[in-house]
Symmetry: C2
Subunit: 366 residues, 2 copies
């Protein structure tokens, strides 16, 4: 398949690398000749002049910055009258509306918006990676007017990068990323912001809970300002709902003992929402069993621990290390499917690992 | 040292186990004879009748539920006129004020409030563990009227459990736990709550960011209702500040393009607060270098990975696995001190690991 990529920044160049590795014929175009040449030198494809002699590409991918995406998509639909045109912007509804204002219905049926959910802190072709999309969701926004053959081409291309294709209506996509990405970012930033003037003796009490809630608060303000502004209506709608529930908590805290029901409700509603988050690899939510192991914080100890787990032939679903202030002891949580918990605990205890919460060890005591 | 523990639930019984293991002489008392006997049978100490023949204990630890802690502390100060009395409740200011209303200044000087920051989802002596306090912060709230010898006894006892002692004024303690524990809990619950009615196709886009922000939203509503109600003023004060900043974001989202400065500010303030969170083991905040490795999701692979890292004799400061929807490939982030990053990348690349973002690999391409 022949693919033409307009915009050779991080996403465009990475896509070129990924598709070239899969033997796609990729041509590249960028308003910056330097960026275009760099992407080509990295192996992302050939520069656009090589393409002009040949027939139209099957797919044109617009990977420009969001502020010029609309015009670039409209121009591409006109320049390549047989091609399917797609893009990689993270907000879909406004873009589709803006394109609709510039082109006719026939052209619009050749446009299929996409959002590969991949990225890095770094930008530009120099940061491009052929495996940027590997194992990441790639959202495709088509509707009933989208010709099946064009949709099939885009799906094939997306899957060639190693991404997992998800079909969504643009509105549902924007509502979804507001809830699962944009609002969590805003709120993590707000929680972290409250620590700005906290004395060191106060932040010294920070535990894994705070670290998890605020990890993404380290994100880039410039990038996130564009994302938040681009999906402002959906984000605002979710934040208003969240603020209503926040106000109920604040009122309950003010009213005191008689209002603890509202506090319990807030935590219980959080339980309910948390249960909806899918498990690993997009499966239905799974409750894993967590085995907690105390490990000395020295080189090689984790190697021994994971070798011991590997020898048991038990698959680790998740692992996390807790940081204990002032002590050289680490606390490692290993998540496994419940059926393998007992086997894991017996195996590790027999090799001398400390498992403070082991049911097996406790039965031994009682 | 002789220690008397009143209340043999999770914390009291765990403390008894920890101190008995360190050859302390521990006596136990509980309003429930069954709970008292269970703790003694587990090895947490002897029941209180054994103590009555001997001289006063040096320290009495009140480990009852919070709602009876005040009266129990006052009674203990009266019953044991030479003993230092301490407790383990998670809120300190209100408790101190309530005790002050019940006892004279002389008695009050023998009371030293504590908050060992340890716990489990399970409760009762049956869930007790001798290493519950290992590597956890143990806050001690003393003031200038606290006799140094009594303070020294409490510090010695706390350190005997393996905990890390932190001295804090009760008000500072309560303000600190509001910021680093209670408010993050409320906000994580509120973010998760917004997912309650999200269709599965929307939550399918969830990534590691959402998972981290909402992990503690799975917490127990009953426990957290008590904690939130007990520190309501401090929590409310932080939540009001947070709401002011939230309102600025909501307003900026409503006003549109001209107000992106307020969005950038919110994310930037979050950066600033995030930078104040201390690194591992209570040291000053440290920026670790993160090396990202793609790993097949099969048993034993992590063992090999950690063995390879261990062979390089590089200490792993943190590690986390990202869950990719729909794909059997895991993405592991390994944090190390920056000085060892290059050595780690060279070592792992030479053993065939995939490091998509490796600077070394990139130089090889360019």
């Amino acid at each position: 398949m022949r693919i033409h990529i307009i915009g050779t920044g991080l996403l465009g160049a990475s896509l070129g690398l990924a598709l070239s590795a899969q033997k796609y014929q990729v041509s590249l175009e960028d308003t910056s000749p330097t960026a275009q040449q760099l992407a080509a030198d990295l192996g992302a494809g050939t520069v656009s002049s090589a393409r002009l002699d040949a027939e139209d590409p099957q797919i044109v991918v617009v990977a420009t910055p969001p502020d010029v995406a609309t015009q670039t998509i409209a121009t591409a639909l006109e320049t390549y009258p047989n091609a399917t045109v797609t893009d990689v912007a993270s907000i879909k509804t406004r873009l589709l509306e803006a394109v609709r204002e510039l082109v006719g219905e026939a052209e619009l049926s050749r446009y299929i918006g996409c959002h590969p959910m991949a990225g890095r802190e770094k930008s530009g072709a120099i940061a491009a990676r052929s495996d940027l999309f590997t194992a990441r969701p790639w959202v495709i926004c088509s509707d009933e007017d989208t010709p099946g053959s064009r949709l099939g081409e885009v799906v094939t291309m997306a899957e060639a990068t190693g991404a997992s294709v998800i079909h969504l209506d643009p509105r549902i996509h924007d509502a979804a990323v507001a809830k699962v990405s944009h609002v969590p970012q805003v709120v993590a930033s707000l929680v972290a912001s409250q620590l700005r003037h906290a004395p060191l003796e106060e932040v010294a009490l920070a535990g894994q809970g705070l670290r998890d809630v605020t990890r993404i608060a380290a994100s880039d303000p410039r990038l996130w300002t564009q994302i938040l502004a681009g999906n402002s209506e959906e984000i605002r709608s979710v934040l208003l709902d969240l603020r209503t529930e926040l106000d109920e908590v604040i009122t309950a805290l003010e009213l005191g003992p008689g209002s603890t029901g509202a506090l319990a409700k807030a935590i219980a509603l959080g339980n309910e929402g948390h249960d909806r988050i899918p498990g690993k690899h997009g499966q239905a939510p799974t409750k894993y069993a967590v085995v907690t192991i105390l490990v000395p914080d020295t080189p090689g100890t984790l190697a021994t621990l994971f070798k011991d787990i590997g020898d048991l032939n038990i698959n680790v679903e998740d692992f996390r290390m807790d940081h204990a202030p002032g002590q050289k002891i680490g606390i490692v949580d290993v998540s496994v499917v419940p059926a393998t918990q007992q086997e894991l605990e017996i195996g590790l205890l027999s090799k001398g690992w400390q498992i403070p919460e082991s049911a097996i060890e406790k039965e031994g005591i009682a």
